[in-house]
């Protein structure tokens, strides 16, 4: 059993300013360091107290986690590098929480991010893995847009969805982004604008595709005895992870979260209906619906209604930062963006977009397209801790 003094919680967050075009001289190590330092400051802790580091980045190479530790001047007793893309942030969170509970570290910085220019993104997409390099890049497939275009068609057919349903998600997230000074796209988006926007890969339109940005996100996981006064800790009530759940043999409309959703809620001791808000990984609107269904957030299975009522009318506040679709996807930071937003909401520090009395939330991460769709999925239930001291 975890000693009370080792009880882990998230006590600090940071997100560097996202930019569509990286600032001159910006480096991946630089933005990762900025986010890490800001998160530790946000937690009220000192840099010398950090004894664990986890990092995910597509553009850190040829450096590794330990090179980053060196450059950051951090001597740690716990170190992790994760390369699970959109699932890496929550995967690292899960490892960090267990490390702190076990006493292997007491103050862990979890950081992810990238500085990326369009030509670098295209080069990375072309060599994402062996299968992509050998059989997708020669098609000039244009990155994952084409694959998720076909997945979206399958979802439309299976659930009777139209472009308008996906548009409602993009429009709703843009509304939230209008209240987030950190989002790269904040001007209001109307459904008509969405429907008139150019096709990128049929049926995906411009507003279905995430804008790539440069930046980094970080959180600090610390043991109870290290929490500074006045901070609101956020506890990870449960976390589940799934990797390569179907060997790419399905249609991609179900993620690995479906396998473990009941465990997620059982371990948390709450039900899907209990959450006050959600951050569901939104590389494409279709995946918001797929993961929400897998997680049990759509008990009647009516995806159309969930988009037009639950999301669009904000019955369940969803991706309240604007999500990756409006705030931007900073490479591997995309897997931590929703986590940082949820922690800020649960700490009641989300400013104009604060969800009143937010206490319980679910956050997911999804990614690593092996060939036709993503193969890594993670979800966590987070809770605002009521301080008794």
């Amino acid at each position: 059993m975890t000693p009370r003094s080792h009880e882990p919680s998230i006590v600090g967050t940071a997100e560097t300013p996202y930019g569509r075009h990286p600032a001159a001289g910006a480096t991946t190590g630089g933005v990762l360091g900025s986010a890490a330092r800001a998160a530790v400051r946000n937690a009220g802790l000192g840099w010398s107290e950090v004894d664990g580091l986890a990092v995910s980045s597509f553009s850190l190479a040829p450096d590794h986690a330990i090179d980053l530790a060196w450059r950051l001047g951090l001597s740690t007793r716990w170190l992790l590098q994760d390369n699970n893309g959109g699932a890496s942030g929550l995967n690292m969170l899960g490892e960090a929480v267990r490390a702190v509970a076990a006493g292997d570290a007491s103050v862990v910085v979890v950081v992810a991010g990238d500085v990326q220019r369009p030509s670098e993104i295209a080069a990375r997409q072309a060599a994402f893995n062996r299968m992509t390099r050998d059989h997708l890049a020669p098609l000039q497939y244009g990155g994952p847009n084409s694959l998720f275009a076909m997945l979206t068609q399958r979802q439309m057919s299976a659930h009777g969805l139209t472009a308008e349903h996906y548009g409602r998600i993009a429009v709703s997230q843009r509304w939230w982004a209008g209240h987030n000074p950190g989002a790269v796209y904040r001007e209001p988006l109307r459904l008509a604008d969405y429907l008139r926007s150019p096709l990128i890969a049929d049926p995906l339109r411009r507003y279905d595709c995430v804008p790539s940005v440069s930046g980094a996100n970080a959180v600090v996981v610390a043991s109870a005895d290290r929490i500074k006064g006045g901070r609101v800790p956020v506890r990870v009530r449960s976390i589940v992870r799934s990797f390569n759940y179907d060997n790419q043999s399905g249609d991609g409309l179900q993620t690995g979260l479906a396998q473990y959703a009941s465990k997620l809620w059982d371990d948390a001791g709450v039900a899907a209906a209990d959450v006050d808000l959600a951050a569901i990984y939104d590389d494409y609107p279709a995946m918001v619906l797929a993961q929400s269904l897998d997680l049990g957030l759509i008990p009647d299975g009516d995806l159309a209604r969930f988009a037009t009522r639950t999301i669009a009318k904000r019955a369940l506040p969803m991706n309240t930062s604007g999500g990756l679709l409006s705030a931007g996807q900073a490479g591997a930071a995309g897997g931590m963006h929703g986590l940082v937003e949820i922690v800020r909401q649960l700490q009641h520090g989300a400013g104009e977009r604060q969800v009143a009395n937010a206490r319980l939330a679910v956050v997911s991460g999804y990614g690593m397209v092996l060939y036709r769709y993503g193969a890594a999925a993670v979800a966590a239930v987070l809770e605002r801790v009521r301080r008794t001291d």
Binding site: Q125, A137, Q140, G142, N145, M150, R154, L199, A201
Partner: protein, 106 residues
Amino acid sequence: MDVLTFFSCARCTAPYFPRPICCATCGGARFVTADAAAGVVEEVTCVRHAAGTGSTEPNWLATVRLAEGPRVIARLPGELPRDTAVRLLLQRDGAIVAVRAQEKTS
């Protein structure tokens, strides 16, 4: 251009593309190759804007289900309707290309 090949587990016959290291069904590690010439078009998309490359040439791609079961992503010569029967070819650069089943190819 060669005919596309798929890989069948020597122990349990489960079909794969690409060749795996271990069979997900039985754990076997030996595979036999066979032509995967025939398939059926499922979803079709047209890539109209390829991020980062500046390319705006329409590029028709499809999910094609092989007769043996596995699905591949293939380039089409142009728009083809769902359920079109196609033949699958493998270019030297690794691109999988689908052509209407009745069309002759050089």
